[in-house]
């Protein structure tokens, strides 16, 4: 196991590459989910305001 993590002395380069890929791809997934919540909340807020003004 430790030999596997060691990557023949290239651990830093290999795991930084895989780690960065993981972080960036996770961010790609999370950001549209947050954006959708924000959008829907914004549209709902506007609808409530319109109804109150009527």
């Amino acid at each position: 196991m430790s030999e596997f993590l060691h990557m023949g002395g290239y651990a830093f380069y290999v795991w930084t590459s895989y780690g960065l890929a993981f972080v960036l791809m996770l961010a790609l997934f999370v950001s549209p989910m947050i954006e959708k919540k924000r959008l829907i909340a914004g549209i709902a807020r506007k609808l409530r305001r319109e109804r109150r003004e009527k």
């Binding site: 596997f4 990557m7 023949g8 002395g9 290239y10 380069y13 290999v14 930084t16 590459s17 895989y18 960065l20 890929a21 960036l24 791809m25 961010a27 790609l28 997934f29 549209p32 989910m33 954006e35 959708k36 959008l39 829907i40 549209i43 709902a44 506007k46 609808l47």
Partner: protein, 246 residues
């Protein structure tokens, strides 16, 4: 043809994309797990580069994606300019940040691979420079779209930019043949067969399919948001916002 027309309507696109997202995600996740297993545990050590070459399973699929996504954007741009199709514009705009992420990932992982193998993080060689230019094209498209208030005008502007920038794709692809570069030539070729051990080639291809499906999922998620934003005054979006529909 009916399916095409349905996808061209924002409302139907929103529904169909919503149904596809979990499937695209599941396929991508399975392929990722399989590709990582094969790439990190099954593929043998390289006789020249030792274990450092395993960066290839991220680097090459990411670089392919950065070009593939750009090609999709250029096609969407052409469709938008010729037929004024709203959904093509949505696909173009939603793809740009995803392509930028993959171009950035290809550059950084290349750097992390270059340091131990070439002894340098960066050289201004044709392959690296043209890929960096691709990242700037993505950032330029994102910035241009953000700078123009009117969505349709912004959509046409980025369509033109995406179409003009497509000239960079063959430059990236052939850079290793046209110029004397530090970057190695292609190891994988569709026509001429690949110069690679099948135990290394297999995870490379699996990872690249995993990234394709991942892009499909993220594209649909982003495109759905874009549709919600653009159609915010329609009754179907209002129903979604009020929790009466999904």
């Amino acid at each position: 043809m009916r399916f095409y027309h349905r996808l061209a309507s924002p409302r139907h696109f929103y529904q169909i994309a919503g149904q596809w997202i979990p499937w695209l995600g599941a396929i991508s996740l399975i392929l990722l797990a399989w590709g990582l297993y094969e790439g990190l545990l099954v593929a043998p050590t390289d006789y020249q580069q030792g274990e450092s070459y395993r960066i290839i399973f991220i680097h090459v699929p990411a670089a392919w994606m950065s070009m593939f996504i750009y090609l999709i954007m250029a096609i969407a741009g052409a469709i938008n300019l010729v037929w004024r199709m709203k959904m093509a514009e949505v696909v173009l705009v939603s793809s740009a940040p995803i392509g930028a992420v993959f171009a950035f990932l290809a550059l950084v992982t290349g750097s992390l691979w270059g340091k131990p193998m070439w002894g340098t993080w960066w050289v201004w060689d044709a392959r690296l420079t043209s890929e960096l230019f691709l990242l700037f094209l993505y950032l330029g498209i994102i910035a241009l779209h953000g700078a123009i208030e009117d969505k349709r005008t912004a959509g046409r502007a980025v369509s033109i930019l995406a179409l003009v920038g497509v000239i960079n794709l063959p430059i990236i692809h052939f850079s290793v043949e046209w110029w004397n570069t530090l970057h190695q030539g292609s190891t994988v070729s569709v026509m001429g067969g690949s110069k690679m051990d099948s135990r290394m080639l297999r995870p490379l291809l699996i990872m690249s399919f995993a990234f394709k499906f991942y892009y499909g999922m993220i594209l649909f998620m982003r495109a759905r948001n874009e549709v919600l934003d653009r159609e915010r005054n329609t009754s179907w979006v209002r129903q979604i916002a009020e929790g009466k529909a999904s």
